[in-house]
Every structure is written in structure tokens, then in C-alpha cells.
Symmetry: C2
Subunit: 124 residues, 2 copies
């Protein structure tokens, strides 16, 4: 990857504020600095940055794709109403539901762990 001003700006937008923005939100913020930036450029760069493991793509059943500047192990709480994504640290998972209610006022309704990797068939 070569350097580019636009990609750098996109990276900063996602890294600097843990709001887990959607593509559209990144686009709106990027336009403040580069008024002519195209939506395609935002998609292209978010995807490249994810593929290089610099950002993480988050997909949930509720709402649209979002991006996360944190790539270390942690969890996400996703609100079914506003679809915002909140970070949860590993330790906060012990005694899950009560703890999340006490700490964040977040009412857990279901959760899902997904593990990415390569299956035994594809490793061949």
C-alpha cells in the first residue's frame, strides 16, 4: 500500500473516535477535509485497511456494516434500537448480564460469538 492523504484521513477518522462508524458516517466526516472525496474511495480504503488488519469490519444482524479502530480482543454490545456499537472489555464478561446492566445500563437480550479462521477442508 502506498501512502495517500485520503486513506490516512479515513484511518484517523475511525481510530480517533470509538463510535464504530458506518461507511456513510466515515464518508461524511472525510468530506469535511476532502470535499470532493468519492464514496468509492471510502469503500476502497475501509476495505483495504480491514484486509490489512489495521481496522476491523463489524457486521451485525441489526443495522449496517461498521468499522472498528481497535483490533485487540474485546467484545461489542450492539443496541437493537439505535444500532450503535459499544466496546466491552474481556473481564466485564464474567457474570455477563448482571454486570453489563450495572455498568452500562445495557439490557442483554442475546449474544453470539463468532470465531474466524480456516477450516480443516480449506487448509488442505
Amino acid at each position: 500500500m502506498n501512502y495517500s492523504q485520503q486513506r490516512n484521513c479515513i484511518l484517523e477518522i475511525v481510530m480517533s473516535d470509538p463510535v464504530h462508524p458506518t461507511v456513510e458516517q466515515v464518508y461524511e466526516k472525510a468530506k469535511l477535509r476532502y470535499p470532493n472525496i468519492s464514496l468509492g474511495t471510502v469503500y476502497r480504503n475501509l476495505n483495504q485497511l480491514s484486509e490489512h488488519g489495521i481496522l476491523k469490519k463489524i457486521c451485525s444482524s441489526y443495522g449496517s456494516v461498521r468499522f472498528d479502530g481497535r483490533t485487540d480482543a474485546h467484545f461489542h454490545m450492539i443496541c437493537k434500537d439505535c444500532q450503535r456499537v459499544f466496546d466491552v472489555e474481556l473481564g466485564e464478561m464474567l457474570g455477563l448480564e448482571d454486570k453489563l446492566m450495572d455498568k452500562f445500563g445495557f439490557q442483554v437480550s442475546e449474544y453470539e460469538i463468532s470465531i474466524q479462521g480456516v477450516c480443516c477442508d480449506c487448509k488442505k
Copy 2:
């Protein structure tokens, strides 16, 4: 929800085989029994069934949306190559990476837990 043959067929397709099919895969299987079934009907019913908690929608960063006939607490392993989704039981999570390698030959590269619910702002 009224009864309908098509919805029932769609439900059976997802419930009977733990392949976690995509919309398109459900559509292809449903056409064997209802050759005129429309893709819109498949989307409509998969969404209704998920909204009623009868099926679960699975979204991952790799590949497309899939549906799961199991709604009890369990995990998913998603292959980055073939994008298939495999079930993992809760107990199998202790000593995660080694255990999954021993048991399934699945090489874990990253994982993510997402918790759905309602945040403190939206509860107001």
C-alpha cells in the same frame, strides 16, 4: 402470522440441516418443492421467522448473511476461505484455540463476541 406452505417449507429447510444456508441456498432448495416460489417470498419469510425468534440471522465480515435453525446459546466458527459456518458448543470454548484445533482442525485467527440488547439511552 398465518400458516403458509411456503414459510413452512423454508423453516424446514433451515431447521433440518445445520449448514447455515444463505438466502440463495434456501431459495434453490425451496424451488425443488415450489418451482414458482419467488425470491421475495424467501426473503420475506426468513426475515419474519428471524424477527419472531424462530430462526437466527447470522452476519459475518466474510461472505453473506446466513440463517441458523438453532436459537440456543452456542458459537460459530466461520471459515475465511469457504465461508461455511460451523457450530461450537459452549463447553468447547474453554482453552479455545487448542481445543478447536484438536477437535475440528480449525485454525482460529480471530474472534468476536457481539451482544445484542437495548442500550441505556434507548431504554428511556
